[in-house]
């Protein structure tokens, strides 16, 4: 049944494209997203701990041993849940799109279908196919419906959108090109019999092959996870995207990259994480390299977010910082660190979605500005209190206050890091402090500014019902996970103990 999340999304895309009216397209899209969410929840409820839920397995290209193999373990299910929630919320938040509505929802659902596919694919080739399917809709979503700062208008606005869209598409494609090369090499080295994960995890890849295949593939995926210094597509892309697309980009698409890092690079080439046997600049393995890059990303993203003038860029850079925690968690190679990384993927997906929704939909669509110094005199907390409350809650979750999902995720990552790479935990801690600072700054400037003398009345449209429902959905999710993290850790932890990760456990696990 779980496979229908993919097919339904593509069918829903077709249906929304052909829908007779805009309203029909919206409703069709919403129904598709809800159906996908319902299917994933049902699957997660029926999941037995540690089980690998095989959804479909048929030969696809028998000549090359490629199978159409869909399966889900707990990690996949966690991210599938996230996709379902983010898709539903994204559609609710784009209820007000009037320009080429049918096409918008069609592209949106194709993107969702690709994302579901990546999380469900259990054959490297199939995973890659879905991974690339997701690239093209992103380009069009940003280039056609993107939002740009108010000072740029007409031609210039179009050029900015297209720049951001093209940058994002090229970064994604360049990253996936690395993965493609790694995949072809994997196929060739493993004898060209199969690209299915269960066959590949059992195949003893030579250590020297893993030593170069691991960084190649990890880097390819990490580009999409926003790893410093390949993160620059993320803030520009997120800021230029329409609200729903930013929510998906930050919320889910960046997770594709992180998921690929874990599922492909680390699961298949665990020996690539081992020591090189020599030290260069104090780094002794690829693990050290990527851990350092992740930590730089955490601190750099947060520091840059601290000085942004554009509200949306603040959130864009904060995503870079939070995704740094995911990568750092992966590089701890401890059970708690990996658990934290996956939880952080989920948590950041929900929180970033909420933040972008506040900025892009609730604030920008009403005030038509994203400049913090222009928002400051408007005292938005007074006029759209719902947005202010939502942003406060999302900000609290984002900086990792206990009770929200961000806390439990980042806490686990830090604990894991403390055990494995102590001094990095300290630096990452500094990143969290900076994170508190930029969230506080954005919050006060955007919502609780000083009223200027010439106070003029803003006739801001009230928050609509779809916005409220979607916000409540996301807030409830982060609270549930924050207060009772076992809903997700019960999915993730048994999966980390599964035979699939045996190489990782035997190799560099601490």
């Amino acid at each position: 049944m779980l496979a229908w999340t993919i097919y339904l999304s593509f069918l829903g895309a077709l249906a929304s494209r052909l829908a007779p009216s805009k309203q029909a397209a919206r409703i069709l899209a919403l129904l598709t997203a809800l159906a996908g969410l319902a299917l994933t929840i049902a699957a997660a409820l029926h999941w037995q701990p540690g089980e690998l839920l095989t959804v479909a397995r048929v030969p696809w290209i028998p000549q090359l041993g490629i199978e159409y193999h869909l399966a889900a373990d707990g990690i996949s299910l966690t991210l599938l849940l996230l996709t379902g929630i983010a898709a539903t919320a994204g559609i609710l938040f784009s209820w007000n799109i009037e320009n080429r509505t049918q096409e918008f929802f069609a592209f949106f659902l194709v993107l969702i279908g690709g994302v579901y596919g990546v999380f469900l694919a259990f054959d490297l080739f199939l995973l890659f196919v879905f991974y690339e399917i997701a690239i093209i809709p992103k380009y069009f979503l940003i280039a056609i419906w993107g939002s740009v700062p108010r000072d740029a208008s007409g031609e210039k606005a179009g050029a900015q959108r297209e720049y951001a869209a093209m940058k994002l598409a090229l970064y994604s494609f360049a990253g996936s090109a690395l993965v493609l090369a790694g995949m072809a090499a994997t196929w060739s080295v493993s004898g060209g019999k199969s690209l299915s994960f269960d066959a590949l995890t059992r195949y003893p890849f030579p250590v020297h092959f893993q030593m170069w295949a691991f960084p190649l593939v990890f880097l390819g995926f990490a580009v999409l996870a926003g790893m410093w210094p390949f993160h620059t597509w993320a803030p520009t892309g997120h800021a230029a995207a329409p609200t729903a697309a930013s929510m998906l980009l930050a919320g889910v698409v960046m997770k594709l990259g992180a998921y690929g890092c874990l599922r492909v690079a680390m699961m298949l080439f665990p020996a690539g994480l081992g020591p090189w046997g020599f030290h260069f600049l104090g780094l002794g393995s690829w693990r050290d390299v990527f851990a350092v890059l992740a930590v730089i990303g955490i601190v750099y993203g947060a520091s840059v977010a601290l000085v942004q003038r554009d509200f949306k860029f603040v959130i864009g850079y904060s995503s870079v910082s939070h995704m740094g925690f995911v990568l750092l968690g992966l590089m701890t190679l401890t059970r708690i660190g990996l658990d934290g990384a996956v939880l952080q993927m989920f948590s950041h997906g929900v929180i970033a979605g909420l933040l972008f929704a506040v900025v892009g939909r609730m604030v920008y669509d009403r005030t038509h500005t994203r400049q913090l110094h222009e928002l400051s005199p408007m005292r938005l907390a007074h006029y759209i209190p719902f947005a202010a409350v939502t942003f406060i809650l999302a900000g609290m979750a984002s900086i990792g206050l206990p009770g929200f999902s961000g806390f439990i995720a980042e806490f686990q990552v830090i604990v894991g890091t403390w055990r494995a790479l102590p001094w990095m935990a300290i630096v990452a801690g500094i990143g969290i402090l900076v994170g508190i600072a930029f969230t506080w700054r954005a919050l006060t400037m955007a919502f609780f500014g000083e009223p200027v003398a010439r106070s003029h009345e803003h006739a801001l449209p009230p928050i609509t019902l779809p916005e409220k429902i979607a916000s409540l959905l996301l807030i409830a999710t982060t609270l549930v996970v924050g207060l009772y993290p076992r809903v997700l850790t019960d999915l993730i932890l048994p999966s980390l103990n599964s035979p699939l990760f045996e190489g990782l456990r035997k190799g560099a696990w601490r």
Binding site: Q63, L64, F128, E132, I133, I144, L170, L180, A181, W187
Partner: protein, 490 residues
């Protein structure tokens, strides 16, 4: 020398004969009965006869799955040549379908007949393992293509393109002939497998190396690989759209197939390796260098183009580079990979030219003229999206699997992973290619066209042809095993 039974020869060449008869029939009809009819009717009648001829030929090929080999490798039919024959005939059929919307010439019969004649030449070309016949068939094909390129007599560009194509083509024929004569001189035979037997030796004869380079140059011109590509952009731009599509599709399939035959059959012992460690001379390094040059030059030059056809021409040069990687791999699966790539490439590229042809009446040539196409002709815009994304190698379209298959074959090459440098270059260049393909699609989907532009009227046969091609690109991408089975079962 054994005597060849003419009856036997006639039986074996029935598909070619069917096509020739159709061509002569439509030529006669058009010159006599249809002369006073309006242009549209003449095109539809001629296209109908041509399509019937193609279908008959396809049926004949499919029916006679016999393998045959005439003495001296004059005419060789294997399961694989059957497959390529059918592919060529299908491409010819679609080309004819697309050409019915053409209005630039009133020499209807000649135009359609030339397409069929070129197809006959290609069918002969791939069904022979004899150097002499290869050369004759190649020249027959080239002559037809020169005329097709210069067919638009009212256009200076068409004449210029044809002249350049002709001059470069003539020169390349000289190189090819020189290389072939060296091969004959070294081996005393003009039959490909016998040449291989004769030239196999412990060390590489310097003369053989010269022959290899000459043959590579000669075929390099035909397949428009850098640095022998100079004719391609002008020919693609000047030629009537359908001719350009035909050159980019059918003739690519045939030229690549015979190129592969010559190097793998005749020069098998002189392969060499192109690894970054353990380089040995032979044709593999020559091909690898041409491949690298084509990919870099084609893809980088395509970025700067403002004319869609020139962009397609440069991208064709880049794609020739990818296909040459499959050659350079020189593994058991590399012929499959090459054929899959070239066939799907031909479909996508013919489709792109088909869409262009449909827009030709509106004077669309520059990329920016495509602005707002999505609103004016959503169907055509969607098909163009499919073709260009397939060329860029986005799954699930067929171009993606072609790329993967080629790369996988190249990495399978002995010694292990020695061609990794070439694959990494190819992968980097494919990221570049997405940039310019997306640039075109941006005009189609994102940029708003003039508000008052009316919807485009597309002739039904063109529409059918384009949609068929798009469907093929999608189906072969989703189920590559259809094509792969076909290569191996026959």
């Amino acid at each position: 020398m054994n005597a060849v039974s003419y009856l036997e020869l006639l039986r074996l060449t029935l598909p070619e004969i069917a096509l020739t008869v159709a061509a002569l029939l439509l030529l006669t009809l058009d010159l006599t009965l249809l002369r006073p009819s309006p242009l549209a009717r003449r095109f539809s009648v001629a296209a109908f006869i041509a399509c019937a001829g193609c279908l008959a030929a396809i049926a004949l090929v499919a029916a006679s799955s016999a393998t045959a080999s005439l003495p001296d490798g004059m005419f060789v039919l294997t399961p694989l040549t059957h497959v390529v024959h059918i592919v060529l005939l299908v491409l010819a059929l679609l080309t004819v379908l697309l050409s019915t919307a053409t209005r630039f010439t009133d020499h209807v019969g000649e135009y359609i007949a030339l397409i069929l004649f070129a197809t006959v030449a290609m069918m002969f070309l791939i069904a022979t393992e004899n150097l002499l016949l290869i050369f004759v068939a190649l020249e027959f094909l080239s002559l037809s293509l020169y005329i097709l390129t210069g067919f638009d007599k009212h256009s200076r560009q068409s004449a210029e393109g044809a002249l350049k194509y002709f001059l470069f083509g003539g020169m390349s024929a000289g190189f090819l002939l020189f290389g072939m004569s060296l091969l004959y001189g070294l081996s005393g035979s003009i039959e490909l497998p016998r040449i291989a037997a004769a030239v196999s030796g412990p060390s590489l004869d310097p003369l053989l190396l010269i022959a290899i380079v000459m043959v590579a140059i000669g075929f390099g011109f035909k397949v428009a690989a850098a640095p022998f590509h100079l004719w391609a952009p002008d020919a693609y731009q000047g030629a009537p759209t359908v001719s350009a599509g035909f050159i980019a599709s059918s003739s690519k399939v045939a030229s690549f197939f015979i190129f592969a035959q010559v190097v793998t059959l005749a020069l098998l012992p002189a392969a060499g390796t192109a690894g970054y460690r353990g380089y040995t001379p032979g044709w593999v390094p020559v091909i690898a260098i041409i491949a690298a040059l084509s990919m870099v030059l084609g893809n980088l030059a395509a970025i700067a183009q403002t004319s869609l056809r020139r962009l397609l021409a440069y991208s064709a040069i880049g794609h020739a580079g990818y296909m040459l990687i499959a050659f350079a791999a020189h593994t058991p699966e590399s012929l499959s990979a090459l054929l899959y790539y070239v066939i799907t490439y031909a479909l996508a590229s013919l489709g792109a030219f088909g869409v262009l042809g449909a827009l030709e009446a509106e004077g669309v040539d520059r990329i920016r003229d495509l602005a707002g196409l999505n609103r004016r002709a959503p169907g055509m815009a969607f098909c163009l999206l499919i073709f260009l994304l397939s060329l860029a190698g986005i799954p699930p379209l067929s171009g993606f699997f072609g790329k993967f298959f080629v790369f996988a074959a190249a990495l399978h090459a002995e010694p292990h992973l020695s061609l990794l440098w070439l694959v990494l270059l190819a992968v980097a260049m494919s990221a570049v290619s997405l940039y310019y393909y997306l640039g075109v699609l941006k005009q189609v989907y994102v940029t708003e066209g003039p508000a008052d532009a009316p919807p485009l009227r597309i002739a039904p046969p063109t529409r059918i042809g384009v949609w068929l091609l798009a469907a093929l690109v999608v189906i072969l991408g989703c189920a590559p095993s259809l094509l792969l089975n076909w290569f191996s079962i026959h």
